[in-house]
Amino acid sequence: MSDDLYREYILDHYKNPRNYGRLEHPTISHEEGNPLCGDVVGIDILLDKDNNVADVKFHGRGCAISQASASILTEKIKGMNIEQVKAITKDDLLEELGIEVSATRLKCALLSLKVLKAGIYGISTWPDEEEE
């Protein structure tokens, strides 16, 4: 039934989000919302001199999928080099989440990655994607 989407792993990240909060002096800071459902995710990143993610925090509000996805994503990128972060694909994140999402909920699941990429590239849409 519902437990495949709302399994323990997702609910745990929703109820106990990792890296939740703000950074005081982030190198990159970006926030975006999903106007359709009102989900909001913002990500602050601190890069060290070698362009590695020294620290990362996220903030936001919204459904379990969007918030858990942000929490999981921040865990994943901590310590990564910016080039590695740039290489993360939608499929990578979906695999990380380990859930099957319907088309309408895909936006929730991928909002954090969209915010991350937009922050890094300093643009509001993904470089390889047309605005829907």
């Binding site: 519902s2 437990d3 709302y6 609910l11 459902c37 919204g62 459904c63 379990a64 999928i65 319907s102």
Partner: protein, 411 residues
């Protein structure tokens, strides 16, 4: 209650449901849909679809143009639909009924024609916080263009409009007052007649958004006394792509046309055009034909309203037994068949996804009422809404599924 749902209202809901083929369909999980989203769009009975089919198969032709038999039949059907609408909302004349694509277009028509002609710099437009975006954005565009200002009537704790505030705003002599008959989020039935009377006394022109009321209760434009009224076809068993604007004849006569094109003209030269008479002046292109009104009349608006009231009462009672659940909107006496809820810690979209697995169709989101969401300090609600075909079993299924969702998040 469960087995004799028709007794209190005289409406045999189980028989009515047989007119709606969608209810016999099984979803992926083998269950039938519990359709609790009629405020968004209603289901359509076989009779309406058959009428559309008959039209397409037997007399599909451009209206008002051809002199051949099927075109004349199509024109007659179209004009008879207009008369039915006029009678349905008790307009004085069918010339006061303008077919539009939907209620949104009806409101925009007024904003772009009457509004542009009559609203000037510094004029006041009064709206309410519970309006659908379609009754906010057209006025914001107009106000920006003209330098007019907009004031919004707030709601109180129960979800009623603050009529004290409304009365005060009317003292500032607004040019236009526009508000919804029924809130699509809170279910509040506003005291339209009284509000229109006050606004008219203050010298304002009044538009009533009846998209959420006309499908569910008797709406009488002469009794209400408004200048304009907007309705939507697909929320009242009709096809998509059809709505209506009611306008008082003297106002419609004075207004400039809306969309330029075929059928709305009297004469076109390369230098300009003169306009057709009412109501065709406002109807460019060929809209679909509404056939749902016969069905509604056959069931009876009073019966529909009574049935929905019963279902709403049943749902409110069942929901009130669930801990930690916020129910928005006024008590039963002033409420239509719309119930918005939130549960702390469970986002409405998660709730909607979970109950969808049980075959329950409800709406989660801001319901095109972002100002109201801000006012209630929430991002979204989960909303269930009913119609003549809603049965208590569907409410039971929703409540069971809701409990399950709570368990998942509260464990």
């Amino acid at each position: 209650m469960k087995q004799n749902a028709q007794t209190p209202t005289g409406l045999d809901v189980y028989k009515i449901r047989q007119d709606f083929p969608i209810f016999s369909r099984k979803l992926k999980n083998g269950k039938p849909v519990a359709y609790l989203d009629s405020a968004a769009t209603s289901q359509r009975p076989r009779q309406v679809v058959e009428a559309m089919e008959k039209y397409f198969f037997e007399c599909n032709a451009n209206i008002h143009r051809g002199v051949y038999q099927i075109s004349e039949e199509a024109t007659a059907a179209y004009e008879s639909a207009r008369q039915k609408v006029a009678k349905f909302i008790n307009a004085q004349s069918s010339r006061e009924i303008i077919f539009t694509r939907n209620a949104t277009e009806a409101i925009n028509l007024v904003a772009y024609t009457w509004g542009r002609q009559n609203i000037s710099q510094g004029d006041l437009i009064v709206l309410t916080i519970m309006e659908h975006h379609s009754n906010i954005v057209p006025w914001q565009i107009l106000a920006k263009e003209k330098g007019a200002r907009i004031e919004y009537v707030d709601i109180d704790e129960k979800g009623y409009l603050r009529l004290d505030q409304y009365t005060n705003l009317l003292q500032q002599a607004p040019k236009l007052v526009s508000f919804t008959h029924v809130s699509n989020v809170l279910g509040t039935i506003n005291p339209v007649k009284q509000m229109v009377k006050q606004a008219k006394e203050a010298g304002a022109t009044v538009l009533v958004d009846a998209a959420q009321s006309a499908p569910h209760m008797a709406v009488d434009v002469q009794d209400i006394g408004c200048d304009f009224l907007a309705i939507s076809g697909h929320k009242m068993l009709g096809p998509t792509g059809i709505g209506c604007l009611y306008g008082k004849r003297e106002l419609l006569e004075q207004m400039p046309p809306f969309l330029g094109g075929g059928d709305m003209i009297l004469k076109v030269t390369l230098n300009g055009a003169s306009w057709n008479e009412l109501p065709w002046k406002y109807e460019a292109g060929t809209p679909a034909i509404a056939e749902a009104i016969d069905y509604l009349n056959r069931i009876g608006m009073e019966n529909i309203h009574a049935h929905e009231k019963m279902i709403t009462e049943y749902a409110l009672e069942a929901l009130s037994e669930i801990d930690n659940l916020t129910i928005y909107g006024p008590p039963l006496s002033d409420r239509s068949g719309v119930i918005s809820v939130t549960i702390p810690g469970v986002h409405p979209h998660d709730l909607a996804t979970i109950v969808d697995r049980d075959g329950i169709a409800l709406r989660a989101g801001h319901h095109c009422c972002m100002p109201l969401m801000d006012r209630l300090d929430i991002a979204a609600t989960a909303r269930i809404s009913f119609y003549m075909y809603t049965i208590p079993e569907e409410i039971d299924r929703f409540v069971e599924s809701l409990k399950k969702a709570k368990e998942i998040f509260e464990k």
